[in-house]
């Protein structure tokens, strides 16, 4: 294959067959924002794989957990795709993607495809293109797509919009029950994992989390599991995989899977509309000299940005009709 060759429609056939080189090429195109046509033709072939998200603070053991989960799934003859996101530098735009280090013995197996992604300026714990890359892997026939976020804090919650099941990983050092009662990260968990279970304080954190979650309103029919694992020793993984299975069953049985996926598609549509409008706005909808005038008058407090925004928005909406 020639380098720099544009990915063409013929490749879609090879993608559907799971040709790794083609998957890789298409993922790159999508990452670089040149894959919209491709995504359109891929879309009818998606919706078959189950997406699992793994999130948590840096160094919590996300990559190691992903590796152990993937191993179990491969053992059940499943095809597995992994997307591991690491942060891009806001200064140089570069990135050091090191999640693969923990996955090397996996990568050589037939039924797996692993891809590292840099976040490229996105702030929600994933890259902007992660959703689309997940679709590509879906179309490539993966039964499961595991998506690992960058190391997150409290509010990077994009993962929940991409995945059917979200696992939140904490470590004994993550904090006490007050941290667990705060809004944010823990609210998106379908399964909670306390990793590095061989460390001091892991039992305590598990019981504090149980206490904190007891006070929360529960989702009907799903008792949120709080599990202890030691991923590096492969301990507790069996239970985790079982929990994943039963969450998947729960989603299908209650019809929640369909419901949630519909919601996500609507959300995605809105996002894409927003993106287009943003691009449109950057194309100088407001003439240069008017911008200068507006800036001047706002600075002198003759106009206020609230009123100006309202006026301009009205003008744009009217103009597009």
């Amino acid at each position: 294959m020639e380098r720099f060759r544009a990915v063409c429609m013929n490749d879609i056939k090879s993608l559907l067959k799971g040709d790794k080189r083609v998957i890789a090429r298409i993922v790159s195109a999508v990452e670089d924002g040149k894959g919209e046509d491709l995504l359109e033709s891929i879309f009818p072939h998606t919706g078959r794989s189950f997406h699992i998200g793994i999130t948590g603070p840096p160094g919590a053991g996300k990559s190691t957990l992903v590796t152990s989960i993937a191993k179990r799934l491969l053992g059940c003859d499943k095809k597995v795709g992994i997307i591991a996101v690491d942060p891009s530098s806001p200064f140089s735009g570069g990135a050091l993607l090191g999640d693969r280090i923990r996955m090397t013995d996996l990568a050589l197996k037939d039924n797996i495809f692993i891809r590292s992604m840099a976040s490229r300026g996105s702030m929600g714990g994933l890259a902007q293109a992660t959703k689309d890359v997940a679709l590509v892997l879906d179309a490539a026939g993966m039964d499961y797509v595991l998506i690992e976020t960058i190391g997150v804090g409290q509010v990077e919650l994009d993962i929940a919009q991409v995945c059917d099941t979200t696992i939140v990983v904490l470590v004994p050092e993550s904090g006490d029950s007050i941290q667990a009662m705060k809004a944010g990260l823990l609210e998106i968990a379908d399964i909670m994992v306390v990793n590095k279970g061989d460390r001091e304080g892991s039992e305590r954190l598990v019981s504090e989390l149980k206490f904190a979650f007891e006070m929360r309103e529960k989702e009907a029919g799903w008792d949120l599991p709080i599990l202890k694992t030691t991923a590096i020793k492969d301990e507790g993984i069996e239970e985790l995989v079982l929990a994943l299975e039963s969450h998947e069953k729960h989603l299908t049985k209650t019809g929640k899977l369909e419901q949630e996926r519909k919601k996500k598609l609507l959300l995605r549509m809105h996002e894409l509309i927003e993106r287009r409008i943003r691009v449109h706005l950057q194309k100088k909808v407001i003439p240069e000299n008017e911008i200068k005038q507006l800036m001047e008058s706002m600075y002198k407090r003759q106009l206020n940005p609230y009123r100006v925004a309202k006026k301009i928005a009205r003008r744009i909406i009217r103009g597009s009709r």
Partner: protein
Amino acid sequence: MRGKIRVLVGKPGLDGHDRGAKVVAAALRDAGMEVIYTGLHQTCESIVEAAVQEDVQVIGLSVLSGAHMTIFPKVLKLLKAKKATDILVIGGGIIPIDDMKKLQRIGVRMLFGPGTPTSEIVDWIRSNTSEPKKPSRRAKRSVKKRVTKKRKK
């Protein structure tokens, strides 16, 4: 044209000295590239597989163990088998000049010895991954035609 330059930095074989690889990886990151770092003790197979899945333009291997005459040819062979010879293979480490010449003859694109400034590696990667390197003959001809047509007008 491809958006980001993606480079795989790997340590094949048994030597455990990864300081150099890490310095290079960090320098490439700071130059705005996306660096996939594979860590120590990789097999040639896993490096090539990773390079294919990650769709990198360049593989950079650090070899300080003296096994370079085994490792580099093997990586090239595996790339060929995967029809991925468009991925450029470069390297660094303790490699005698005679061996460097031999390796470059069989397809290793560039070898950087000890003391190379990282900026030299960055520049090399930038100038060798930018498209198009050489327009094909046909492309050249059509460009010429277009130019002459315009002139006639």
